[in-house]
Amino acid sequence: MAKDKGDNPYSPLYRKFIWTTLVCSLAPLLLVGWGIHIHYAGFTRDKMLSAFHERVDHHRQVIDLFLEERRSRLQLVAATHSLDALQNQKNLASVLEALNRGDGSYADLGVIDEQGRHLAYVGPHDLMGKNYSQAFWFRPVMERGIFISDMFLGFRKVPHFIIAVSRSEAGKKWILRATINTEAFRSLVEQVKFGKTGEIFLLNEEGLYQTTPRFGGHIMEKAPFSVDVPFGTTRIREWKSGKGGNGLGMDHQILAEEWLEEPRWMLVVRQDYAETFQAVNHANWAILIFLHISALTLLLASFVTTRYMVNLIKKRDGEADRLNRQLQQAGKLASVGELSAGVAHEINNPLAIILTERQILLDSVGQTPSLDGEFKVQLHESLCQIDAQVHRCKRLTQNLLRFSRRTKSVVESVSINAFLEEVVDLTEREAGSNGIRFQTEMEENLPPILSDPSQLQQVFLNLITNAIDAHEGKPYGSIRIGTRSQDNAGVEVVIADTGCGIRPDHLDKIFDPFFTTKPVGKGTGLGLSICYAIVRRLGGTIAVESEPGSETIFTLFFPLKPPPDLEGRLREQEKQTGGIPDERINLTAGGR
């Protein structure tokens, strides 16, 4: 099988077609796919980053606003209340209550004098009497008038941050200090959800968490990445961790950083890179699937169209080969035809002279009674032999002439079945004496064909005579004659014999003029050539298959109507023979 494939002359063409169609179709597809991917991925990435940026910025504004509001409220209280009023515990409690109305974002409120002593305090812890003069926030607030601290533990030992404002009153400075409700603040920051993997937290300038991140880490712990000096805008960057990142296996994250106005905390939003760009990935997958499906479709289409095209070419090549062979055969026959008319004349004239000489001798012998008896017998035998050989030559020239000229054709309706039966009748005696039986398989209701019966007879007689001759040396055999209708286009005739068969190397020569395998003097090698020429002239085809030593099958096809040129020629002949009685021409032509 592999050998067959290798031997197939169309395999290289097939491969070339496949490659060409694949390259021509896949290359543009891949280019377009790649272009779409690049463009769409860039576009989607920009959109994603822009949305990410907006969310981060929005969140930063919310936190800034929260802190700004808490600070403003505190400044307002400090500005509108005197130290005396606030030193009163009851008043201070009222102020805290008023401040917490609505959201409860202040955990406690205290008033501290310029020595750092706690003058008044309202809140959950016992901080009265504590001195804050050494606290890290005391000096800045005294100097700047306002201070928001980082998260610290302080006296209460829980992470919290304070907002403190100072005011000068009658030459004395005092501080109003509020602790922001850490839970409220943390929930404001931490509870914002960024998908499944997003987290949001705040870092101070030392890189300490000011809120607890969603995944890993804790408030006031050191973050695993460095913090740059404060910058103005939102910065978005990719961040890769070699150690599994935040513990969720996210080693590739997208990181947005933005500094708050006051305090100097950096808002950090980070999300798994894949989740951020999920839409891009989906689009990439969709493009990839589309490309694969398109490529597969093209592959399939390429195979199917290539197979179809190659089969078409194979079929056309086959037809061209067949036509070429027919043309070669016709060429051979035409050249023999042209030659034969001239040769026949050149041979027939000497033959005519030989015959007249023989007749003269014959006449002379008859008129000379004194001739020696034995000589007379010998002479007679020789003259008979001359006659026989002249007639043999005449048969040859007549056969030759059948190529070059058309005997008078008479087109009439012929029932092939009845016609073949007549031909079988004619040859049955000869076949029977050679031990050959005829088997006929005629299709009933075969349509009649318009053809030339005398030429058909010659074809069938030639083929059947050959079939009989093919049994030489065999004690018995059979000749099968079959007919069948061919799709209303014509009639197929099969003449098969069980004779000696034809060698494969002879098969393509058997229609060649003068090709014969019969002994010298037995066949002229023109019979099948004449059959071929006649069948082609009648618009039919003849083909042969053979199994050497066992059988030979001739398959003939005759159209229902003869070719137009034959019909036209006949009509012309009929017009021209108007003056001659038809039976006279038929008798003469048939008599030869």
Binding site: A344, N349, I353, T356, Q359, I360, R406, T407, K408, I580
Partner: protein, 156 residues
């Protein structure tokens, strides 16, 4: 018919000479010529019952010769004897008025048979022509002169 006059026209001199011998021995009066031109001249000089004409000859070929013979309007039948064997040409010849054709080589008996047929045809035509003339004389006695005029040709 013994004593019939035959004109053999063939460029093969051996053939015409042999055929002359054979036909003469069978009672015909044979004249042999080797070209179409000579045949026309011979026909202009004498009457022949049957002309045996070869088709393929150098110079004037058989068909042209036949046409020329037809132009002469003689009571003579032409038999085509051709070695060329082209039935089409022979049929052309018959359309032009040849009696029949034979292909070379042929048996002398076959040729004699065709010659006899041709002679009978020529005889029938002559008689038919004579009857027509007599009929005319009966109808118009002045036409009797034509019976004694140039009587050897067909009336065109």
């Amino acid at each position: 018919m013994k004593g019939s006059t035959l004109l053999l026209v063939d460029d093969e001199e051996v053939f015409t000479s042999n055929m002359s011998k054979l036909l003469t021995s069978r009672g015909y009066r044979v004249t042999a010529v080797n070209s179409g031109g000579n045949a026309i001249r011979a026909l202009q000089k004498s009457n022949y019952d049957v002309v045996v004409l070869d088709l393929k000859m150098p110079g004037m070929d058989g068909i042209t010769t036949l046409k020329e013979i037809q132009k002469l309007g003689l009571f003579t039948e032409t038999l085509i004897l051709t070695g060329h064997g082209s039935i089409d040409t022979a049929l052309d010849a018959m359309r032009l008025g040849a009696y029949d054709y034979l292909t070379k080589p042929c048996e002398i008996d076959e040729l004699v048979e065709k010659i006899e047929g041709a002679w009978k045809q020529k005889d029938r035509e002559e008689q038919r022509d004579m009857q027509k003339k007599i009929q005319k004389v009966v109808e118009s006695p002045s036409a009797a002169f034509s019976l004694f005029g140039k009587g050897k040709g067909k009336k065109k």
